[in-house]
Assembly symmetry: C2
Homo-oligomer: 192 residues x 2
């Protein structure tokens, strides 16, 4: 069980606090392609991925799926706004591989935030870390060519590139799958 490590890595907790915190998490085994949350539902849990990859996505008016974020081992995964504001989720959460995740409900998380000062700190640090990631992606998307965005992805999330469908990566990077396919072709040519 790696959950304690994920937590200790961000904020060191005394053993007893850590044990108490862990006890509020529940282990869930989920199959490939399972939806953890659907659009319109209130997202009641925050997940931490122990094994597998997940993604959040939404449907454009024309029905196309747009991948919004990928979640890998050690990352927390949720439809954040829905989870914290308790309003209907704009996103689907899906596991792309057979996975193991730990989950905690909003009530229990609030309870832990209130009980442990350090827990609040953990929340703050994870939140600013996520903020930095999103800002980086925004910069990449906003001012780089399709090619440069793919390179950014290769650098920032090299493992994901080879684990998930090309179409998912393309929509994550804000381009069509045709364009990404052409970029990949060009890159292999250049590399060999």
């Amino acid at each position: 069980m790696k959950l304690p490590h994920y937590i200790q890595n961000v904020v060191p907790f005394p053993a007893d606090e850590l044990e108490d915190i862990i006890s509020y998490f529940e282990k869930e085994t989920v199959q490939k392609n399972t939806l953890l949350v659907k659009e319109g539902q209130v997202c009641s849990k925050l997940y931490i991925v122990e094994k597998g990859v997940g993604r959040s996505y939404y449907l454009k008016e024309d029905g196309k799926e747009i991948t919004q974020w990928f979640f890998v081992e050690g990352q927390f995964m949720s439809s954040i706004e829905s989870f914290f504001q308790q309003n209907p989720s704009l996103y689907y959460l899906e596991m792309l591989e057979d996975s193991v995740v730990y989950s905690i409900t909003r009530e229990n998380l609030d309870l832990l935030f209130a009980r442990y000062h350090n827990m609040e700190k953990l929340g703050r640090l994870l939140s600013t870390e996520m903020l930095t990631r999103v800002v980086n992606k925004l910069n990449a998307i906003q001012f780089q060519t399709a090619r440069e965005r793919y390179d950014y992805m290769l650098n920032e999330y090299p493992d994901i590139v080879n684990r998930v469908a090309l179409g998912h990566i393309a929509s994550y990077l804000g381009m069509t799958q045709e364009t990404l396919s052409r970029i990949r072709k060009a890159e292999t040519r250049n590399r060999s």
Copy 2:
């Protein structure tokens, strides 16, 4: 002085805690076009805008300024990654009008985070709020036409649109100023 209100609005503090917290902030009056932080400097302070508008921006390789974010009354303003990680800022921070801001240093903020559980909570909530905003912008930038992005801006930040230079808004929205100028022209035509 509105600082106490800004804080109480997010997390209610006991009067004595609030007073102590406020005492660590310093009031600064800054003139239009003043840079609070330059690229390459470590951003040593977090600001809260009491009056005026600020922006963060960076320079592309070709020397063009790209506005990354606007900050208005009641918002905290900083080169967040630089401030929290204490590494050189990628961004400039600039006040676009004659302004009044409150500032706090990293050391003092950390001291307050450690001293008050509620302060940590404030940090967490502000951070998730910012995260939501950035995610919204990312979605707008990634999948909307230039026209739709301007409409998003009119909705989300109507006051800013009429306070800052067109060129700043254009780069914030990921388009050229020529394009934004044409969009505005088309919109006035439609509206009248």
